[in-house]
């Protein structure tokens, strides 16, 4: 090893952790290792290749996924807590694993550049967080309508004033109705797996939609966890843009020039119906994505302890906290289950109804104030489940979620030992043995609806 190489700061796996240029021996090709990568099938990369256990941060897990993703184009604009991830993608660019990379002007420009590059037919990746998500959201919300395959990470953080950089996943609520596919990663392993699998799902002809992967800033991005990874010398096949649902864009030539042509509804001879069916088609593509999510990600949700009648329904870091709550409750002799929602869009409505068929108590912990997951769950289970439902606990603005807070909700909600442990507005329905007691009062429902 040369002297210059030994000066390189590295993590325990030997990967560079600074933004400095990769130092290589004179005369050695800096892209040498990248050039040795060979293309394998997605199935081999995901399920068959041997995996090695490493202990890395969420940002590093993102980097390692992109190393194997055969990405053509990536644009970065820094924002905490995303900056480290995109800085590491810059390191990959230096090593030749990403073909093009630059820093954008701001998020609107970044998301617009991703749109152009994706429509031109190359595989695209970027990441942002919190205020950056909202700054870029006009462009992001146009991706599904343009049928642009791309993968974007949202390292969730506070977006509202007063400004803060701490974890809070409120931005997910803004993304739920853009038409993009949206996954919520719980830990570093999810980050690695979801990113790689998202490229394949996104580029399926009958899907052809962008995929967003949200995970909670700092809790996942900056914390280390164990990740099982296949070797560095294999990668996904390249994007086959000519099999997409829309033509590869040639800005000057038909068959489709999009922005160069006038809006689809401008002519008096054109029907409002075109935009209506266009939106239907985006959401139809979401439906079609379900089979690939089942094939590659083992389902839109994960059910732990399906025999339980008390369930946590959670996603992201709240799912991780719920696992620990399950353990504490088991020590107290209370058997609980966890339904982890992997895919927020498409939402696993039927799977959730199935899993909750026998549930008596449902607790929905979240890292945001408005409780977007509780809304989703309530809608999905309306008329399908008689469980007592507790929309919470919820923490926000950068707070952590003590596991005891979740345990309290279960004890307060199930046993009615100390109902004051559950805020009045967070609870609806009743765990009861008589039909009369199962009746839900209108006041309860009103309070619950105001609370979520």
């Amino acid at each position: 090893m040369s002297e210059s190489e030994s000066e390189q700061k590295t993590n325990p796996q030997g990967d560079p952790i600074t933004s400095s240029a990769v130092k290589v021996e004179a005369g050695k090709d800096p892209h040498g290792e990248a050039k040795k990568q060979r293309v394998v099938t997605p199935e081999h990369l995901f399920f068959e290749a041997p995996r090695e256990r490493v202990f890395i941060t969420g940002s590093e897990a993102g980097k390692e996924a992109i190393r194997r993703a055969n990405v053509d184009f990536s644009v970065a604009y820094p924002i905490t807590p995303q900056s480290e991830t995109m800085q590491l993608i810059g390191v990959l660019y230096g090593e030749g694993y990403v073909k093009e990379y630059y820093r954008g002007e701001e998020e609107y420009g970044v998301m617009s550049a991703i749109a152009g590059a994706s429509r031109a037919g190359v595989r695209c990746f970027t990441a942002t967080a919190g205020p950056g998500t909202l700054r870029g959201i006009e462009a992001i919300a146009s991706w599904p309508g343009h049928r642009l395959p791309a993968v974007i990470i949202f390292t969730c953080r506070v977006v509202n004033a007063p400004l803060a950089i701490q974890p809070d996943n409120i931005e997910i609520s803004y993304l739920l109705n853009t038409g993009m596919i949206l996954f919520h990663a719980e830990n570093q392993q999810d980050v690695f797996d979801f990113i790689l699998k998202s490229f394949v799902i996104s580029e399926m002809n009958d899907v052809t939609l962008p995929v967003g992967i949200a995970y909670d800033g700092f809790f996942v991005t900056h914390a280390r966890g164990y990740v099982m990874m296949p070797p560095k010398d294999i990668k996904l096949p390249p994007r086959e843009a000519y099999h997409g649902a829309v033509p590869v864009l040639d800005a000057e030539n038909p068959p489709a020039r999009l922005s160069r042509d006038a809006p689809v509804q401008k002519s008096n001879f054109m029907s409002y119906n075109i935009h209506a069916v266009w939106q239907q088609e985006v959401w139809a593509a979401q439906e079609r994505a379900k089979k690939y999510i089942r094939r590659y990600m083992d389902g839109l949700l994960e059910v732990n302890n399906p025999d339980a009648d008390i369930f946590f329904i959670a996603s992201g870091s709240a799912a991780a906290q719920s696992r620990e709550a399950m353990r504490l409750l088991e020590e107290q002799g209370i058997h609980t289950g966890l339904i982890k929602i992997r895919s927020l869009r498409p939402f696993p409505t039927l799977e959730l109804q199935d899993a909750c068929r026998r549930a008596k108590l449902i607790v929905i912990p979240e890292f945001n104030y408005p409780g977007w997951l509780a809304k989703e769950v309530s809608t999905a289970l309306y008329g399908e489940c008689t469980a007592h439902m507790i929309a919470g606990p919820r923490v926000f603005g950068g707070m952590t979620m003590p596991v005891e807070l979740i345990v309290e909700r279960v004890i307060g909600g199930l046993r009615q030992v100390d109902p004051t442990r559950v805020p009045v507005g967070a609870s609806v329905g009743a765990e009861a043995s008589t039909e009369a007691a199962k009746a839900v009062s209108k006041e309860d429902v009103n309070r619950f609806m105001q609370n979520i």
Binding site: F269, M270, E281
Partner: protein
């Protein structure tokens, strides 16, 4: 009443794709639980069925429906590459088996201003105008990019009584009443043979003249038609790209 009685469904009743007009903003078939066919299968009115059975149903409908029409899209209409040319020729073989068939192209997807000429072309932004104008009650879309085909199929089902067929090079289309998938040139030729077989079994004589254009206008003479078929020429558009290079090792599957 915005929906016709026959298009109203009970809660647990499977959704069936029928010719419309289905009414004001009918749902996308995918959102009603209709899934795309697996390899070797097609869809008949939303149900997964053996591909041979689907082809026979396509043949029956195209041979008996009013004003049968082929709508070739950019993928078979333009001379992108050799495979596109071969496939375009296979589409002409299908046309050559259907008496009185019209060929109306979908040359591109751009909105047309100030208005479309419905005898010249069909466009995904307002396909109903071409269907209505030419009184088309059964049609085949082939060589249209999937997104634009899906838009077109939804609008036709909403506002017209036309039975739609999608012959797709990829996974097929739930919003078409009949669809087959993975349609390369050999499968297109197989469809032409099935149509011939069904036509003969129904006692329908072979076409005696070339396909019409929109409005049943004559677009080629029998002599020109024979020449087109003999040379295997794809239709071409002035200014169209001359070919798209494939990635190394990529098989053309236009």
């Amino acid at each position: 009443m915005y929906l016709k009685k026959e298009h109203l469904y009970k809660r647990d009743e499977p959704y069936v794709l029928k010719p419309g007009p289905e009414g004001y903003v009918p749902p996308a078939a995918a959102s009603m639980g209709i899934e795309l066919p697996d390899p070797g299968e097609g869809l008949i009115y939303g149900r997964k069925t053996n591909e041979d059975a689907v082809m026979e149903e396509i043949a029956k409908q195209m041979l008996t429906g009013k004003n049968p029409t082929l709508f070739p899209g950019p993928l078979v209409l333009w001379n992108w590459n050799e495979h596109a040319r071969i496939k375009g020729h296979a589409v002409l073989e299908i046309a050559n088996e259907i008496p009185g068939v019209m060929i109306i192209p979908m040359p591109d997807y751009r909105p047309k201003y100030p208005k479309i000429e419905p005898e010249e072309e069909i466009n995904p932004n307002h396909p109903n105008l071409t269907i209505w104008h030419n009184k088309i009650e059964v049609c085949i879309f082939v060589g249209v990019h999937c997104h634009y085909a899906n838009l077109t199929l939804k609008m036709i089902r909403a506002g017209t009584n036309c039975l739609t067929v999608a012959v797709c090079a990829e996974q097929g289309h739930e919003d078409a009443m009949l669809t087959v998938r993975d349609s390369d040139d050999s499968k297109l030729r197989r469809l032409a043979q099935v149509i011939r077989k069904v036509r003969e079994s129904m006692g329908i004589p072979a076409p005696t003249r070339p396909p019409y254009g929109g409005g049943k206008r004559e677009i080629v003479t029998p002599g020109e038609w024979a020449q087109i078929r003999a040379k295997g020429l794809a239709m071409s558009m002035a200014g169209a790209p001359k070919g798209i290079p494939l990635r190394e090792g990529e098989m053309p599957r236009v």
